[in-house]
């Protein structure tokens, strides 16, 4: 006969009260066999499972309930609770110190780990593994990696590499959008084909992806839709796209897609049809003498993403792709002496891999995330160490309680449970309070970090599991040592008062204190290094003057190329009339902004061919305004008839091109994209992007047409309000259709260091927290130890010890500990500081001061925290201490 499911029977046997099991099991079997006969075996099995499940509704039928009816174990637990509570309440000071440490520790750990989880959650939601073709470019000035690859890769992969299942690419173009009368700039606009939505499965809320083949259709994100049209339906609305490859057209909203999550490396608000780009390339003359057919294998700038066939070998795909590039670019690569390769980068790793150029969103180094995770662990460890130290230090008092309990018949196991429970109560309470602390602190932290990372906290199952894990681990780690040592006390000795403190406890405590010191010294040193590096960078001589400079962005004449120069000239003259304006310059780029315009040189003879040089178009005032030193030759000038073909280079270019002195390069010829330029001047190097980057090879040429996109205004007035409103008014009356965008140049430079500032602030906050908790614990511990030693101190005093003797006696331990900790922290500083510092081109030396100062700081902090207790102990009247017995 068919039997019911065995596992259900086992489950029942395990959980049903044994005295009921026979009856229940018998009845269920009988029912089952009846059901088999009358309804078939499957139905019977299901019924069997369901009725078994029914028993779990009735607690009194289950086994574990019975056991609590009679036994004393419940009362014992109740007693543990009460005595734990009383113990914690009696020693308010020590409880408060331990608790404060735990609360701050948990709160920091939760915040940091949520941050770490969030940062590593980037692009993990795509479902299918998506890879980006990340581009490696090699030439004689080195190797660089870029987020985008050749335009031709998509088609080539689709037709030549069968392992590739889906491919998409897009091109970020910039441009502005005019909706009704409003102009929006700064949107993330890309051109793509419908296959974008095949690879990235962002939900389309209205419209059909196929429509993206239609050149006049755009897709916009949900939030962009509500920004443009409010509550109205965005579908089929018409907007004007402006300034994309010199084109302006009326575009129809063909679809709305869900906002791309913030934890994606993609930043896209508007997608227009890629066909528009092709038309522009076919008709416009953007690439000089390069024909339309040549463009795809020459044009970089397309981030390209693939989904592979299941089981496809990555190596094969990569080698096939590189072969395609090598074949199709053979002639070009040879001519320019370059090499282009791609590799497959999982999208989920993009955010944590720094050093790849032109990413859509800022990356965050995996190492930084790891560092903060370590700090979180440090902080927690320090808090737990505080608890353990306090608990062992209190063991003398607790010992008496243990002795009495043992005499009254407590088992060792019960005592252990009690101490573990005590640790658990404190940890759980600390965790609860820390959640209350994290919630109001969250917005401030998000502001400091610059990322909204808390909103996923309550749905982040990893974090919740982690929090629960930390609670139990913490209770165990912090409770286990006190539990075992205290429960092992010999009750007779304890009660007789022989036990002072076990030497074991002292050794452990010393080890723990030493490790706290190691953390602390390391953190102080790291803080010093971070701070001095930041100061060094901020005060580094940029080689240019950036103060008192205001910057206005102009369109560069994309929408009205004909009368733009004359309008611009008029505007410059008007700016000059504003009181307080010293000089005005129009240029294609200004310091502080990454210069994307580079061309490789074709120096027809000798070395240096194929060197990438940044190009800037400037006017005559540029060098003066930015106080750039011309060390050889002359400035560009309109008075020389052919200065359009003249070039000023910087020192780095001169050196890279192999000229020994600035004078040597004067009047030499440099070729860019087929045109010949005559070098008329050499300027000193300056930092285009801030001092954490190296000097770059640069060139400057005279702007004969005034199409530059940036107007720099040097001023010498304190009346900023009039100045700024004057600038804005004049700009708006000159270009009523263009968006006004004015900023101070030093702010732009500050923004270069945003990531570093955030890192510094976060690091400062959390290492300060760690240090404070460590000091707090130390203060509590030393006060307790000194209290215990009061009698000893008094006897020594009676026998003639001087105050300084006693001071040394009480504090020499900490000096030894400091030295020991220094030996531990030193190597860590030595090996870890270069890891962070190597991100900076101009960095400080880690000189001995960075080792000695933390040691001095930590030692003096320790002495300061203990000194008040020490002094009190020294000054107490010995008779008061000694007459007690």
């Amino acid at each position: 006969m068919k039997q019911p499911p065995r596992w259900i029977e086992k489950l029942l046997r395990r959980f049903i009260d044994p005295s009921l099991y026979d009856e229940v099991h018998g009845d269920m079997l009988e029912d089952y066999h009846y059901n088999v006969k009358h309804g078939g075996i499957t139905a019977a099995k299901w019924k069997f499972i369901l009725s078994a499940a029914g028993y779990f509704r009735y607690m009194h039928l289950l086994r574990f309930n019975r056991s609590t009816h009679n036994s004393t174990s419940m009362d014992i637990w109740k007693n543990y609770f009460i005595s734990s509570y009383r113990n914690l309440a009696r020693n308010k000071r020590y409880t408060a110190i331990s608790l404060l440490g735990l609360v701050v520790g948990f709160a920091s750990a939760i915040a940091i780990l949520q941050y770490a989880f969030y940062e590593s959650s980037y692009d993990s939601f795509h479902g299918e593994p998506i890879f980006r073709l990340t581009h490696t470019f090699t030439n004689n000035s080195g190797v660089s990696e870029g987020a985008s690859t050749l335009m031709a890769m998509k088609e080539a992969l689709l037709s030549e590499v069968p392992e590739v299942n889906k491919v998409t690419h897009f091109l970020s173009t910039g441009g502005t959008v005019k909706v009704q009368e409003e102009i929006y700039s700064g949107e993330n606009i890309v051109g793509a084909a419908p296959d974008f939505f095949d690879v990235f499965r962002f939900r389309i809320l209205g419209g059909n992806a196929v429509e993206l083949d239609n050149p006049d259709v755009i897709f916009i994100s949900e939030s962009t839709a509500s920004k443009y049209f409010g509550p109205e339906d965005a579908l089929n609305q018409v907007v004007e796209m402006q300034g994309i490859f010199g084109q302006t057209w009326d575009a129809r909203v063909g679809g709305v897609f869900e906002d791309i999550p913030m934890n994606s490396h993609l930043r896209i608000d508007i997608i227009f049809s890629e066909t528009k780009i092709l038309t522009a390339f076919r008709e416009g003359n953007f690439f000089g003498n390069i024909t339309f057919q040549e463009i795809p294998w020459r044009l970089l700038g397309f981030p390209t993403y693939v989904i592979l066939e299941p089981g496809a070998s990555h190596e094969q795909v990569i080698s096939k792709a590189n072969e395609l590039i090598a074949i199709n670019r053979e002639a070009i690569n040879k001519e320019l002496d370059q090499k282009h390769e791609v590799w497959l980068q999982p999208v989920s790793e993009i955010h944590t891999t720094p050093g790849i150029q032109s990413e859509m969103s800022p990356t965050n180094d995996r190492k930084v995330i790891l560092l903060f995770t370590f700090i979180a662990i440090f902080i927690l460890a320090i808090a737990w160490i505080n608890y353990i130290n306090m608990a062992t230090a209190r063991s003398v008092t607790r010992g008496k309680e243990v002795g009495v309990r043992k005499v009254l018949g407590s088992h060792r196991k019960q005592l252990r449970n009690q101490f573990l429970l005590e640790a658990f109560i404190l940890n759980a309470f600390g965790l609860f309070l820390s959640l209350l602390l994290v919630i109001p602190a969250a917005p401030y932290l998000e502001e400091i970090v610059g990322v909204r990372f808390f909103h996923t906290m309550w749905t982040n199952s990893e974090l919740i599991i982690f929090i629960i894990g930390v609670l139990f681990l913490g209770s165990f780690v912090s409770g286990i040592y006190p539990a075992f040592t205290l429960s092992n006390f010999d009750c007779l000795e304890v009660i007789k008062g022989k036990l002072k403190y076990s030497s074991k406890g002292v050794i452990l405590r010393r080890i723990l204190v030493v490790s706290q010191f190691v953390f602390s010294i390391f953190l102080i040193a790291a803080l010093l290094i971070v701070q001095s590096q930041m100061n060094f960078m901020l005060n580094h001589n940029l080689g240019i003057s950036i103060d008192r400079t205001f910057l206005v962005s102009a369109s560069g004449g994309a929408s009205e190329p004909d009368n733009y120069p004359s309008k611009m000239r008029a505007l410059v003259n008007e700016f000059m009339e504003i009181p307080g304006v010293e000089s005005v310059s129009v240029s294609s780029i200004v310091p502080g902004i990454v210069n994307q315009w580079r061309n490789s040189t074709e120096r027809r003879t000798g070395e240096g061919a194929g060197l990438f040089i940044h190009r800037s178009i400037i006017d005559e005032n540029f060098m003066d305004l930015y106080e750039i030193d011309i060390i050889a030759g002359r400035n560009v000038s309109k008075s020389f008839a052919n200065d359009g073909q003249s070039l000023i280079v910087n020192e780095t270019t001169r050196k890279r091109l192999g000229y020994n002195s600035p004078e040597d390069i004067l009047n030499e010829k440099i070729y860019f994209a087929g045109l010949e330029y005559n070098v008329i001047g050499v300027v000193d190097d300056f930092y285009q992007r801030g001092a954490h980057f190296a000097y770059e090879p640069m060139s400057f040429q005279l702007d004969t047409t005034l199409t530059g996109g940036f107007i720099s205004i040097k001023f010498n007035t304190g009346n900023l309000r009039d100045l700024l409103s004057g600038i804005e008014d004049k700009f708006k009356s000159a270009f009523p259709d263009a968006p006004y965008n004015g900023r101070f140049l030093d702010t732009i430079f500050q923004n270069q260091y945003t990531a570093e500032f955030r890192f510094r602030n976060l690091f400062t906050i959390f290492s300060t927290i760690a240090l404070l908790i460590a000091c707090l614990g130390l203060a509590g511990l030393s006060s307790y130890i000194i209290n215990q030693k009061m009698k000893e101190i008094s006897i020594r005093k009676v026998l003639g010890a001087s105050g300084s003797n006693l001071f040394v006696l009480l504090n020499k331990e900490y000096l030894v500990i400091s030295i020991l900790a220094f030996l531990g922290a030193g190597p860590a500083i030595y090996f870890l500081s270069p890891v962070w510092l190597q991100n900076f081109e101009n960095r400080i030396n880690v000189h001995p001061g960075f080792y000695i100062v933390p040691l001095v700081i930590i030692t003096s902090v320790v002495l300061l925290t203990t000194i008040s207790y020490t002094l009190r102990a020294i000054h107490v009247n010995p008779s008061r201490m000694l007459k007690e017995e």
């Binding site: 026979d22 009856e23 018998g26 029912d31 509704r57």
Partner: protein
């Protein structure tokens, strides 16, 4: 346990057990309720209720070792009503009757 108060299901099960006369065990009681009272209860509910009644002292139980292969060799636990159980259903019935009688404007033959 608390008082002699009977729940609705408890009352029904006591009555069913009285009806079944010496052959009242879990499954049998459930089947009787299903057939005669046209009401679907699960076996676990029945077990839960009869053990609650037993704890209240309204039922007495004894094992009956019938060698039935369908029950996998497990004995039946047969229930009979104790005298206090009888009192309890009687009291419930009388209380109801009393309440019915005092409803104003209604009379019963």
């Amino acid at each position: 346990m608390k008082g002699t108060h009977l729940g609705e299901l408890e009352e029904m099960i006591l009555l069913v057990i009285a009806n079944l006369d010496n052959n009242a065990y879990g499954l049998n009681i459930r089947n009787f309720i299903r057939q005669k009272c046209d009401r679907s209860v699960s076996i676990s509910t029945v077990h839960s209720t009869i053990h609650r009644l037993e704890n209240k002292g309204f039922l007495r139980s004894k094992y009956s070792h019938t060698n039935s292969p369908e029950r996998g060799g497990r004995p039946k636990l047969l229930f009979t009503i104790t005298s206090s159980g009888r009192d309890a259903i009687k009291a419930t019935m009388e209380l109801r009757n009393a309440l019915w009688k005092t409803i104003p404007g209604l009379s019963f033959e």
